[in-house]
Symmetry: C2
Subunit: 366 residues, 2 copies
Amino acid sequence: MSNQPKRVFNFNPGPAILPLPVLKQAQEEMLDYKGTGMSVMEISHRSKEFEAVIQTAEADLRTLMNIPANYKVLFLQGGASLQFTMLPMNLRPAGASADYIVTGSWGKKAFDEAAKLGTTRAAANMKATNFDHLPIQAELDLDPKAAYLHFTSNETIHGVEYFTEPVPPAGVPLVCDASSDFISHPIDVSKYALIYAGAQKNAGPAGVVIPIIRDDLLEKVPANLPVMLDYKTMAADGSLYNTPPCWSVYIVGLVLKWIKEIGGLPEIARRNQAKAGLVYKAIDESGGFYRGHAKTDSRSVMNVTFRLPNEQLEEQFASEAKKRDLIGLKGHRSVGGMRASMYNAFPIEGVESLVEFMKEFQQNNG
Amino acid sequence: MSNQPKRVFNFNPGPAILPLPVLKQAQEEMLDYKGTGMSVMEISHRSKEFEAVIQTAEADLRTLMNIPANYKVLFLQGGASLQFTMLPMNLRPAGASADYIVTGSWGKKAFDEAAKLGTTRAAANMKATNFDHLPIQAELDLDPKAAYLHFTSNETIHGVEYFTEPVPPAGVPLVCDASSDFISHPIDVSKYALIYAGAQKNAGPAGVVIPIIRDDLLEKVPANLPVMLDYKTMAADGSLYNTPPCWSVYIVGLVLKWIKEIGGLPEIARRNQAKAGLVYKAIDESGGFYRGHAKTDSRSVMNVTFRLPNEQLEEQFASEAKKRDLIGLKGHRSVGGMRASMYNAFPIEGVESLVEFMKEFQQNNG
């Protein structure tokens, strides 16, 4: 480890870039976590050391997000994809219906899994224009008796993001898959009944999903669910019913500490706005050479999706970018083109490098 | 990282000790995995680099265990605890019954989760003697029409282990929770329809469970299961339907390579026998000061459970052991006393140190 390790500008959509100080601390502590003589992977999840890991992560998340005391914070396995199943199992009583706002691939997956298990309505489905914008409140077809209203705060693939939550009918709990914009800007948690997020975008590595659930929702959980799919059991045991994904929780804890140190969610939001702003500006000033997929009012701060004049140029763009250590820019096949994912840990220098490259590429190929 | 890091003898029952060369390689590659300029936590699970990680892990496991070609190897989330639910959901048709051999806490948990979802019979339940021995074949009350027969090859808490598989009735698939003796000795995989194991004992860190399933079983999986709970989908997508627990899979891969390098499962089995043999010998030669929980013919090579003359001495034993860097020896509350877990990565030197301490402790307190 004498040589300086190579690092690239990592635009991967998730798993994604982690803060360098986090990686360095994990490296430093690998053989001996805080004097235990063990890696954090080797200590018992029932030990006081690991309890401190998971409890500190929870406390730091509560501070960062200003989570009210009547919410539980869980660290579970299975990603947001398993939440798509746990949610209706736990919070949609037999015979009841749930509403979903379908704004992209992830909203559709959440809808499809819920539909397997019971009555599921689309309060909106933006497929007709390939999910290039979000519905306004007046467009929502809302069921006043829905068990809950589900939305996806940021669609990683299509690059559309909510900054003002949809408003459910009175008494209908609001549920959010926040996987790809979790802790990227401040939100008012009290508007939500349940927020869940896979960690592998803004909060840490793959392998842990973080549901934040209001206490009264737990009372609605049916008896006798499979224990691993039961929010109530997981909340009662502080996410330690069985062995949790210890390493992933540990890294999330380090990431949360890093966010606190640099100034919390207001500062993270400022940085994220600045980063995305540079790329959108480059798109808007390209005279149509670069075309954003998302409509202006729905543009994601996390994932900037854009096309070039043709697919050949898009291939060439990705390939030349890679040579400059701008990695992970190829878009998802369902949108095509390019996608620049710039999560919390992504540095502004990488965005400046991308924008410079975009201008050069247009000059050479426009 | 200039000073030599402290390391202890880690008898933790899981999460457990990992091979030191594995930790060192993970440390070395933390900032730049194989020249990518990214940590393995930061690369895409769809990248060729991660595909190599997961495919190499699978190939090495196939080699080590001599897994026939008509079996799929999966890397999933949720631990063995979620397998307790997936198993009956996938492999017990509506209206059918499944048989469980209950030999300890883990067998009981598997039984209880299956019982929530349908008809579940105990082919044996060894609770009457606090799970201190395994049933012989003739004691099993087997249903010739069972959807499957489930057993737990090693009970981590009680310290009893199967070395010859129970024999199911003709045509009944044999299913095994092998979490705590997985890849600790050679087995004949072709006797099994499904083997699954949480990684955090012998194979890696927490956060990944490894089911190995025979192809024809996949044909029995009902349509329209929740996608994250569907063996067929997970097998079809090579465990990459959604983002897998990348880091845990990576560490498992390093552990498998380490096992291959030191001589594979025959050599691992030889080492494990030697280690457990030393502790059982110390128990047997203590004139009753140390009393094994498991009956001689059911003794686990992985987890040696034993009592001392009274609880006060047990507390003192654990406390003095800890001062000698012999960590994690306190037994589970449902058995009491001590438990020495000596998984694959546990070094013989640590066992020698324990045995020496046992003798000294007896001399001073016997």
